[in-house]
C-alpha cells in the first residue's frame, strides 16, 4: 500500500512537472547551444528581457514600499475605525480573485484612449495604456496582496507594546520603525519581495492586454514567448521560456531559504 502511494506521487510529479520541464529544455537546445543562444540574442528577445527587468524592478520597489505601509495601517492605524479597516482588509485580497486578463481590461477601461482619464493624460502627452506606465500599473494590481499579506500577520503577532514603549521614551515615528518594527518584519518583507519578483516576472495576462504586445517597445519576456508560439517558432519560445524558468527556479530556492529564516528569527 505504502509503496503504491509513494509510487503514484512520484508518477504525478514526473508527469506534471519533470517531464514538461525536461521536454522544454531539450526543445530549447534542439538546435544545439547555438540555437539556444540565437533565440536569446535576437534584438526583440534582448529588448523583451530588458522590459521584464525594468517592470520587475519598478514594481518590486513600489509594491514593497506601499505594501509595508498598507500593512502597518491595516494593523496599527487607530485613526481608521475598526470597521473600515476590516473592509479594507477584505478588499486587499480582491486581486487574487481577479483573472489577470480582467485586471488588464480594468486598466484599459479606466485609463485607455477612450476613457475620460486616458484622454486627460493624452493631452498632457503621457501615454499609459500600450506603454510602460500601464504595464507597471497592471503588474502592481496583480502583485498588491503579496507584500501586505506577508507583513500583516507578523505585525499582529509582535503586538504594539514595544513600539508604544519606544514612542513613550520619546523616539520619533521614523526611529521607532527602524529600530523596533523593522527588525521583526525584516524576513517577512524579504519573503514578500521574492514573491513579488516571481509574480511580476511571470505576469502575462494583464501585461498582454495592457501592453498591446508591441515588438521592441512594450513586449516582455512572457509575451514574447506567446508571440513566438503564435508564429510557430517553438524553439525560440523554448529558449526564452527556459531563461524565465531558470529564474523562477532560483527564486523558488530563495523562497525556501527565506521561509526557513522567517521561521527561525
Amino acid at each position: 500500500m505504502r509503496r503504491l502511494w509513494i509510487g503514484l506521487t512520484y508518477l504525478v510529479f514526473f508527469l506534471l512537472i519533470a517531464a514538461p520541464l525536461g521536454k522544454m529544455t531539450t526543445e530549447a537546445f534542439s538546435e544545439g547551444f547555438g540555437g539556444f543562444w540565437a533565440s536569446l540574442s535576437r534584438p526583440e528577445a534582448l529588448h523583451a528581457l530588458m522590459m521584464t527587468g525594468l517592470v520587475v524592478t519598478v514594481v518590486t520597489l513600489l509594491n514593497t514600499l506601499f505594501g509595508i505601509m498598507m500593512a502597518l495601517y491595516l494593523v496599527r492605524a487607530n485613526w481608521l475605525s475598526a470597521r473600515l479597516r476590516g473592509l479594507l482588509n477584505s478588499i486587499v485580497d480582491l486581486p487574487y480573485a481577479v483573472s489577470p486578463v480582467i485586471g488588464g481590461l480594468m486598466i484599459v477601461l479606466l485609463l485607455g484612449p477612450d476613457s475620460a482619464l486616458g484622454a486627460v493624460f493624452e493631452q498632457i502627452g503621457v501615454k499609459i495604456v500600450y506603454a510602460f506606465p500601464g504595464m507597471v500599473i497592471a503588474t502592481l494590481f496583480v502583485t498588491f496582496p503579496l507584500m501586505v499579506r506577508e507583513v500583516m500577520p507578523v505585525l499582529q503577532e509582535i503586538g504594539s507594546q514595544q513600539e508604544e514603549a519606544a514612542s513613550t521614551l520619546g523616539a520619533y515615528g521614523w526611529t521607532t520603525f527602524w529600530k523596533v518594527t523593522w527588525p521583526s518584519i525584516r524576513w517577512a518583507v524579504i519573503y514578500g519581495v521574492i514573491l513579488t519578483v516571481a509574480r511580476s516576472l511571470g505576469e502575462f495576462g494583464a501585461v498582454l492586454v495592457v501592453s498591446g504586445n508591441i515588438m521592441n517597445k512594450t513586449q516582455t519576456a512572457t509575451t514574447l514567448v506567446y508571440q513566438d508560439v503564435e508564429n510557430f517558432n517553438v524553439t525560440a519560445a523554448g529558449g526564452v521560456a527556459l531563461v524565465l524558468a531558470a529564474f523562477s527556479a532560483g527564486l523558488l530556492l530563495l523562497m525556501e531559504w527565506s521561509k526557513r529564516r522567517k521561521g527561525v528569527h
Partner: protein
C-alpha cells in the same frame, strides 16, 4: 511649533497617499468594470451575455474548472498524505517542487504542456494514433488548469495532517476499527476543511487562468474557447463592453468564492 506642524503635515500626506494609492489601484478599476458593462444600460449587458459565444465560453470554463478541481483535490490530498506520513528518498525535493507551478510564469507552463503533448511530440503522436486529441482540445485545457492550480490543495491539507493528533488514530485502532473506517471517520474529517478551501482556491484560479490555457487551447468558439481567452479576444477586437460583461460574471463568481473561503476560515478559527 513649526516642526510640529510640519510633522502633522507629513503624516497627513502619508496617509492620504497610501489610501489614495489603494483606492486608485484596486477599488477604482474593479468598479470601472462593473460600471462599463452596465454603461449602456442593462439591456446591452444582457445582449452581450446572451451572445452564444459568450455564454458558451462561461459554461465551458465552469465545466473544465470543475473537472480540474476534482482531479486536483484527489491528487492533492494523496500527495499531501504521502509527503507528511511517509519517509522516502527524495521527499524534501518533491516537497519543494510542489511550489514550482506557482513560481513558473503561466505562459511557460502552457508552453511546456504544449511541447510535451503537442502534435510533433512522442505522447501527442501516440495519442493521435489511438484517436485521442489532446492539445488544442479540452483535455489540454484541463491539464493546463491542473498544472497551475497544483499546489493549492496540497498546501491546504498538509498543515491539517501535521496537526492531527496520532492518539486519535491509535485510539480508533485500539478499539478495533479497520483502517478503512479509521480513514473515513478520523482522518478524512480532519483533512476535509483543507480539501474544501484548497479546492475552492484552485477552482477560482482555474476559472481565471489565461496564460497556460491560451497557448494549449485551440480557442475555437463554443468548443475550446474559455472565458478569459474570450475576454482577451474581445479586447483585441476593440469591444471592451462585451469583454466587461463576461468579466462581470467571472468576477462576481470569484468574489463569491473568495467570500466563502473567508467565511469557512473564520468558522474554522472559532470552533
Amino acid at each position: 511649533m513649526n516642526s510640529l506642524l510640519r510633522h502633522k503635515g507629513w503624516t497627513w500626506g502619508f496617509r492620504t497617499t497610501i489610501l489614495l494609492y489603494f483606492v486608485v489601484l484596486i477599488i477604482l478599476p474593479i468598479m470601472g468594470v462593473y460600471y462599463n458593462s452596465f454603461s449602456l444600460g442593462f439591456s446591452s449587458f444582457a445582449e452581450s451575455i446572451s451572445d452564444p459565444i459568450a455564454w458558451k465560453s462561461v459554461l465551458l470554463t465552469l465545466k473544465l474548472a470543475v473537472i480540474a478541481t476534482v482531479i486536483n483535490v484527489l491528487l492533492g490530498t494523496m500527495i499531501a498524505w504521502v509527503l507528511i506520513r511517509y519517509r522516502f528518498p527524495g521527499k524534501a525535493l518533491l516537497n519543494s517542487l510542489v511550489d514550482l507551478p506557482f513560481a513558473l510564469p503561466t505562459a511557460v507552463g502552457g508552453l511546456m504542456i504544449l511541447l510535451l503533448l503537442g502534435p510533433g511530440s512522442l505522447i501527442g503522436g501516440m495519442a493521435e494514433k489511438l484517436g485521442f486529441e489532446i492539445v488544442f482540445h479540452q483535455p489540454a485545457i484541463v491539464i493546463a488548469m491542473i498544472f497551475v492550480t497544483f499546489p493549492f490543495v496540497i498546501r491546504a491539507v498538509q498543515p491539517l495532517l501535521e496537526e492531527l493528533d496520532p492518539s486519535e488514530e491509535e485510539a480508533a485502532y485500539t478499539m478495533g476499527a479497520k483502517s478503512s473506517r479509521v480513514f473515513r471517520q478520523v482522518i478524512l474529517p480532519s483533512m476535509a476543511p483543507g480539501m474544501i478551501s484548497g479546492g475552492m482556491l484552485a477552482f477560482s484560479r482555474a476559472l481565471a487562468e489565461f496564460g497556460a490555457v491560451v497557448l494549449v487551447a485551440g480557442n475555437i468558439p463554443g468548443r475550446t474557447l474559455v472565458s478569459s481567452v474570450f475576454i482577451f479576444g474581445e479586447v483585441e477586437s476593440d469591444n471592451p463592453v462585451g469583454a466587461a460583461a463576461v468579466s462581470v460574471i467571472l468576477l462576481t463568481l470569484s468574489f463569491v468564492i473568495l467570500w466563502l473561503i473567508n467565511m469557512l476560515q473564520m468558522r474554522g478559527r472559532r470552533s
